[in-house]
């Protein structure tokens, strides 16, 4: 969701976001050209609905992590359901170049983990130690993933 300043034809930038604690959310957006400001207020139900759809307004409340939505939204969960200390990942042997990470970040988040694993497994099987855009292109071709 984006706000557009109609007069300037510019995307408005987030100016301020506030969570008063009663379930409502207030966000203000400013046009970078004409400085016009608009504010948006959602009631508790709207805030919850928008959040459950995965829409994030004005940045993250919790760090990006697996099962982030479940962890942040579920109540009645076990305190020790997740360990805080990550164990070494099986994928750490395969590095990612900066360009490859940027490209991976373009993949929709809900499938990003799956796509990342495909590339890592492809690299590991072939003894490739670093995933680069060229490796990604080759993997897409070899694995028949051109549509992804």
């Amino acid at each position: 969701m984006k706000f557009l300043c109609v007069d300037c034809d510019e995307q408005m930038q987030l100016e301020e976001r506030a969570l008063p604690g009663d379930g409502t959310l207030v966000a203000a957006f400013r046009c970078p050209r004409c400085e016009s400001v608009v504010a948006m207020l959602t009631n508790p139900m709207e805030t919850r609905l928008v959040s459950s759809l995965g829409v994030k307004i004005g940045g993250e409340e919790v760090p990006d992590q697996p099962l982030q939505g479940v962890r942040s939204s579920m109540s009645g969960g076990r305190e020790d359901a997740f360990t805080d200390e990550p164990i070494p990942a099986s994928t750490t042997a395969v590095r990612w170049s900066v360009e490859a990470v940027e490209r991976l970040n373009g993949v929709p988040r809900f499938v990003r983990g799956m796509v990342k694993r495909l590339y890592v497994e492809y690299a590991r099987e072939r003894g490739i130690t670093e995933v680069t855009p060229a490796v990604m292109d080759q993997a897409r071709s070899d694995l028949g993933l051109e549509g992804m």
Partner: protein, 246 residues
């Protein structure tokens, strides 16, 4: 009826057949897959690959809301009670999406998704996984056939592949003589299979000794030492054949 037990037992049977199996419990409100599989509640490890599923005694990798909830606690979400029907479904949809994408399933031959009653979660799954393949589970009765038939028509309308039908509670295994006696009237499994042009993958009788072992999370014993377990193993072999021949 008995979808979760069939899902868990078929998963364990596939694993015993040398397949690599994951079991995703999509019944967020009534999760049982972890308990039935003998997967001990443990803190889930988080790695760069995602959240590690729990390994059941059979080696099946399991992810279930049961692993995240306190013992006996119902699943609820933060947020206002008023109008919660509006966003509750969306939260469960997101949980399913994250169970699929954020869990480090690793390389699998099968990811079995145990769906709750009704069709909503099944439609969610088909929307998220274009290649989702469905196995219908019914009991023999006409009422069950009618209900399952509607769901399967919906599946086929969404162009998802229907792999076959499993008839659960197809008779009752007598404790005394071990013979299988009739339990429900009807032949819903056969009729559904014929109506949809798919194979009847197997008929699994109700077997008290199997139910007891499953309740104790010992699916390996259930599969190897009970009449129902033998039927489930046969279903698993048939599933492998069906997929291999596709």
């Amino acid at each position: 009826m008995g979808k979760s037990l069939i899902s868990g037992a078929v998963g364990a049977a596939l694993q015993m057949e040398g397949q690599r199996v994951g079991l995703l419990d999509a019944d967020m409100q009534g999760p049982t897959a972890a308990r039935l599989s003998g997967a001990e509640p443990a803190s889930l490890q988080v790695t760069e690959d995602g959240t590690e599923p729990v390994k059941a005694r059979t080696g099946v990798r399991v992810m279930s809301m049961e692993l995240l909830l306190k013992e006996g606690a119902p699943l609820t979400w933060h947020g206002p009670e008023a109008d919660s029907f509006v966003w509750r479904g969306a939260e469960e949809h997101r949980a399913l999406r994250e169970f699929l994408s954020d869990v480090a399933w690793g390389e699998l031959d099968w990811l079995i998704v145990d769906l709750p009653p009704g069709t909503q979660r099944m439609l969610d799954l088909i929307e998220l996984c274009a290649r989702a393949t469905v196995v219908g589970v019914t009991i023999p009765s006409e009422a069950a056939r009618s209900s399952a038939d509607r769901a399967l028509r919906l599946v086929r309308g969404r162009k998802a592949r229907l792999l076959g039908i499993v008839e659960n509670m197809a008779g009752y295994v007598c404790d005394g003589c071990s013979k299988t006696r009739p339990l429900f009237a009807g032949s819903a499994g056969r009729r559904l299979a014929d109506a949809h042009g798919v194979p009847l993958l197997g008929r699994v009788p109700f077997d008290p000794s199997a139910a007891e072992l499953a309740d104790a999370g010992d699916l390996e014993a259930m599969l190897t030492a009970t009449t129902a377990g033998a039927a489930v193993l046969s279903v698993a072999k048939r599933l492998i054949q069906e997929v291999d021949s596709a």
